[in-house]
């Protein structure tokens, strides 16, 4: 029971409640750093560390932290993790850090993370909280990656810096520029809606078939 509940918590974040596609949270880092797949992954990893870590702490101490100051505590915790990530990346992979630039500190402001603490971690036992965090962040990663991949492939004719279409492919510069971010995400969301719509249609048909079958 508990087992598959935690599995459930994990899975929901990836598709049904996908933070980006379904909940439209944490858009800013989402769009800002996804002009290449690698940046997207790096950002995702950073967020993962922060979200999972803070969810863990928050839900562990959820009974000790008084309601009145919980938000402040959350923020302090998150900010701490972010600072840690910031310095670690700066020390280990300066190149990536330079690419992501100011957007690592901005993870603090990412609605997704604070949102999860408030909505989930502060209410549920550690195990579930971590699973939920993992699910969410994996969903986030999926979104980041798909966006980053599309933008890099079209915008640079490459994936992870590997040229795909030979040298005289004409890159779609716009994809690397800000408008490309908005447009691509918009179109992806469109497909997401379309898929859901088709799915619902399908389910209805099935239901109808069954009803007629009875």
């Amino acid at each position: 029971m508990k087992k598959n509940q935690s599995r459930e918590e994990f899975l929901k974040g990836i598709w049904r409640d996908n933070p980006v596609f379904a909940q439209v949270l944490g858009m800013c880092p989402m769009l800002a750093v996804t002009n290449s797949a690698i940046n997207a992954i790096a950002m995702g990893a950073a967020s993962m560390f922060v979200l999972v870590g803070s969810s863990f702490l928050v839900s562990t101490f959820r009974n000790i932290i008084p309601k009145q100051v919980r938000i402040s505590c959350f923020i302090i915790i998150i900010a701490t993790f972010v600072t840690i990530v910031d310095y670690t990346l700066l020390a280990l992979v300066p190149k990536v850090h330079k690419e992501l630039g100011a957007f690592i500190p901005l993870i603090v402001a990412n609605c997704l993370i604070l949102g999860r603490q408030e909505a989930f971690a502060s209410r549920y036992p550690t195990k579930l909280a971590v699973m939920d965090a993992l699910g969410m962040v994996v969903g986030f990663l999926v979104a980041l990656f798909s966006l980053g991949a599309v933008r890099e492939i079209l915008g640079d004719g490459a994936l992870f810096g590997v040229k795909l279409f030979g040298d005289n492919f004409e890159p779609w510069i716009i994809m690397i520029l800000p408008p490309g971010g908005f447009l691509t995400l918009g179109v992806i969301l469109l497909f997401f809606n379309w898929f859901k719509y088709k799915k619902d249609e399908f389910l209805e048909d099935v239901a109808a078939a069954e009803r007629s079958g009875r």
């Binding site: 439209v24 949270l25 858009m27 800013c28 880092p29 989402m30 769009l31 800002a32 923020i75 302090i76 900010a79 701490t80 972010v82 600072t83 910031d86 310095y87 630039g101 100011a102 500190p105 901005l106 603090v108 402001a109 990412n110 609605c111 604070l114 716009i174 520029l177 800000p178 408008p179 490309g180 971010g181 908005f182 447009l183 995400l185 918009g186 179109v187 969301l189 469109l190 809606n193 379309w194 719509y197």
Partner: protein
């Protein structure tokens, strides 16, 4: 180093916070369904940005040179508390003004546009006035983008937009087109 005019224009149009830096998207996509609200939210944001710029400058010049590692936490805590303090002040002094934009202040204080402003201003080593002008540009730019989007959204209520597209997808595409249009400002006042 950069002249003030360029800082202002750059933050306002060329590198608009929303349309070029993707900052403050949540309010941008969330609140922009009504024109009045958007405009007031924009004003509130501009105001908070000004406060932020000042705070950031004070912190950078007096505290953070000794303890750079506290940057993030300091920014958050100080900005949040200052804004809250001012919020109370406004509530006391001018209820009207409070009703106009006060309600938004809590919503804004931790959003990434504000924090972003502080961090960018720091990274570029802006002085006091540069910081203030930067904040002003960024704030007005945010208001501009928000108001335009809100107007377009209200208009699209009247046109039969396919159901699949209605909602966030459409807003993002509008935003995309807007940021495409804002590319026209690139290089404005930089070569003169």
């Amino acid at each position: 180093m950069d002249n003030l005019l360029w800082i202002f224009i750059s933050a306002l149009l060329v590198n608009n916070f929303v349309l070029a830096y993707f900052l403050g998207l949540c309010p941008f996509l969330g609140v922009s369904n009504s024109l009045e609200t958007s405009f007031r939210l924009g004003l509130a944001t501009t105001f908070v940005m000004l406060v932020t710029a000042v705070c950031a400058w004070v912190l950078n010049t007096y505290i953070l040179i000794h303890a750079p590692y506290l940057r993030l936490i300091c920014f958050i805590v100080v900005i949040a508390s200052t804004v809250q303090f001012i919020e109370m002040l406004i509530k006391k002094l001018s209820p009207a003004l409070f009703r106009a934009m006060g309600i938004f202040l809590p919503l804004i204080t931790t959003n990434c546009a504000i924090l972003g402003l502080a961090i960018f201003a720091t990274n570029r080593g802006y002085g006091f006035w540069e910081g203030v002008v930067y904040a002003l540009g960024a704030g007005i730019g945010f208001t501009l983008a928000l108001t335009l989007l809100a107007g377009l959204r209200e208009e699209s209520e009247l046109s039969d937009v396919p159901a699949l597209i209605k909602g966030t997808a459409m807003n993002l595409i509008i935003a995309g087109v807007l940021s495409m249009a804002f590319m026209g400002f690139a290089g404005l006042f930089s070569s003169t």
